[in-house]
Symmetry: C2
Subunit: 168 residues, 2 copies
């Protein structure tokens, strides 16, 4: 790998980096790249922790939304999650089959369904949450409490200016 | 949403959270969740910035690997990226068709190909990098230089303890 030509094409990137000094081609100084790398490592650990619970991050967010909003309608839930009703239906079906969500006709609108997390669903979430806390401790094992708090706060301030945030 | 039952099932989670105090069901205190949310927002902005360049983050990483390692073999590149040679082949084909990568027979092994970023590929990367810098400034617009540096460093320390990091 030593036959690298003089880096004629690699320097111009420096010209206009007034605020961020990123040598052209060096991903290691890019916030987006670091974020993606950290997210990927954390997600691998999350997936391993959640394997026995058989649930994705998005579906966990959905279940927690229902837990926090008993009797929420499918329409309202789809709105909160920013997804189509048609997409939500099969996901709720699956949760119902697993006995984690109960679906019943809304009292004030017979065409609409009200959703609740079942007692079994609550036990499921409790067991899952225990694993989630272990995962959380593991991914931040190298940080002090103050550093962890600082990271949470800095992450909150990334790209929040003109981006609507997902709702799960 | 006011007919919430007394939160009988929501309290037990507090019992054993000695190190991290996460009220059961509150994603907002989870580092994994914040990371995912920030990553998603940043990725949306990245995707919008990169739309005219028609490239994914992974493929950009690949192209930069080839740029930094002229004459790298497909086998060595697959190894660095942690992907199968069979997966890499069609990606390189696509880059070759776009005129961004040149593939030629290796001098020391006629069965193997050596890869280079073409002059056109270098111009492509330069234009792309300009957009990437604008994207970087936008996502960190709310952070001081010190805060940005601190975030980069904290992200590096997440989950690096027992996770091999991806190589692109």
């Amino acid at each position: 790998m030593s036959n690298v030509k003089p880096a004629r094409d690699r320097t111009p990137g420096r010209r206009r980096t007034e605020t961020i000094s990123v040598p052209f081609g060096d991903l290691d100084e890019l916030l987006g790249y670091k974020l993606r790398r950290a997210q990927r490592a954390v997600f691998q650990d999350f997936a391993a922790s959640m394997e026995r619970h058989d649930i994705t991050p998005g579906h966990l967010g959905l279940l927690l939304q229902v837990l926090r909003n008993p009797d929420i309608s499918q329409t309202a839930l789809a709105g909160r999650l920013g997804i189509e009703r048609a997409t939500l239906g099969p996901i709720i079906d699956r949760f119902e089959q697993r006995g984690l969500i109960r679906r019943r006709q809304a009292e004030n609108d017979r065409r609409s369904y009200a959703l609740c997390v079942s007692a079994q669903g609550k036990r499921f979430l409790q067991t899952l949450w225990d694993d989630l806390e272990i995962h959380e401790r593991r991914i931040a094992a190298d940080l002090s409490a103050a550093e962890r708090a600082s990271l949470l706060s800095l992450l909150d301030r990334i790209a929040l200016t003109d981006q609507p945030q997902g709702s799960d």
